[in-house]
Symmetry: C2
Subunit: 177 residues, 2 copies
C-alpha cells in the first residue's frame, strides 16, 4: 500500500482514505522503469590497451566471456570500442591477427555512444536500440588540471549491454512486493 502511494496511484488523505489520482497502471510502469539508474545496473567493463593485437583481443573476449571490449590509452582515457562483430570481420580478412593492433579496427572517440551513471536505464536501453549497438561504456568526464573540460576525456567506470537490459526486464517481471 505504501508503494502504491509512493507510485502516486493512490493519494493518502487523512480521514478520507485513499482515492484514485488519475494515473494509469501503464504510466506507473513507465515511471517505475524510468526511476532505475545506470549506476545501479552497470557491470564491470573489460579494457584493453590501444596496442593490443586483434588476436589477443579475441582471446580476451573469450576469456572474459564478453561481447564488447573497451580500449584505453596510457592515461586510461576511453579511446575506442571493439565489438565481436569488428573482431569477426577482421578475423576473416587476410592480415595476420597478431600484427594488427585493435586501434586499427576499433570505433573511436568521438563516435562512441556513451552513457552516464545518473542516466536512466531506460535512456541507455533506448540508445542501444537507436544506434544498433550491443554495449555502452558508462563514463565520467575527467577534469583537466585547471578544472576545465575542454578536451573532454572520459574515465570508463562500467558497461551497460543488452544482457543488462534483459536481466532488468526479467527482474521487473519477478518483482512482487
Amino acid at each position: 500500500m505504501a508503494i502504491l502511494t509512493m507510485a502516486g496511484i493512490l493519494d493518502a488523505r487523512p480521514r478520507v482514505g485513499y482515492f484514485y489520482t488519475g494515473k494509469t497502471t501503464m504510466q506507473a510502469i513507465g515511471e517505475s522503469i524510468k526511476n532505475k539508474r545506470v549506476k545501479d545496473y552497470k557491470s564491470v567493463p573489460i579494457l584493453v590497451k590501444e596496442n593490443t593485437s586483434v588476436y589477443d583481443a579475441i582471446c580476451t573476449m573469450f576469456l572474459e566471456d564478453v561481447g564488447t571490449l573497451f580500449v584505453v590509452n596510457e592515461q586510461n582515457d576511453l579511446v575506442g570500442v571493439v565489438s565481436r562483430k569488428d573482431l569477426l570481420r577482421s578475423a576473416i580478412g587476410k592480415q595476420n591477427l597478431e600484427d594488427v593492433p585493435v586501434s586499427i579496427i576499433m570505433t573511436r572517440m568521438p563516435n562512441i555512444i556513451l552513457t552516464y551513471p545518473d542516466e536512466t536505464l531506460h535512456e541507455a536501453a533506448s540508445k542501444l536500440i537507436r544506434y544498433q549497438i550491443d554495449a555502452l561504456p558508462v563514463v565520467r568526464p575527467k577534469q583537466g588540471k585547471d578544472g576545465s573540460q575542454t578536451e573532454t576525456k572520459y574515465e570508463i567506470i562500467g558497461r551497460i549491454t543488452k544482457t543488462t537490459i534483459t536481466r532488468a526486464y526479467v527482474d521487473l517481471g519477478n518483482e512482487e512486493l
Copy 2:
C-alpha cells in the same frame, strides 16, 4: 480507469465506487509483463543449410546483420544454432573456413534451448539469462504422418533475441495510455 480496473488494481462495485484490491503496482507491472507473448514480438529467423560453409555463414551473418543463425536440414527441421561467438572461434582456428560446414561447429538438437509462440516474453527472457545465450528459436512441433510426435521435429517460425527484449523494455517505459 478501465485499464486500472482490467489490471485488477481497482475493482468496480456498483454504488460503492472503486476500492483498492490489495495488489501493488509492482505486482501489476509483473502481470503486465507476463501478459506479453513471444508470438507478438518474434522477428524473422535467418536460416542456413547444414552443408553451408563457415565462411558463407559468416557472410550471411554480416549481410543479414544478425548475431545468430539457425541451421535446418532438407526437410526444414531445426537441427542447429550458430552464434557469432562460434564463428569467431572457428575463424581464429587453423582450418580453411570454406571447407568446414556449419554442422561441425553448431550447437545441435537436443541441446538447443527453444521457445514457443504462446510462451510469455518474460519466460523467453529468463531463458536467455539462465542459459547465457543471445537468441532463442521460436518453434512449432511438427507432427508425424500418423499424428505422433515421437521424433519431435521442430519447424522454426521466428527468433527472440536480447535485442527483442531490450526493445520491449524501451516500449514498456514509453507506454502511456
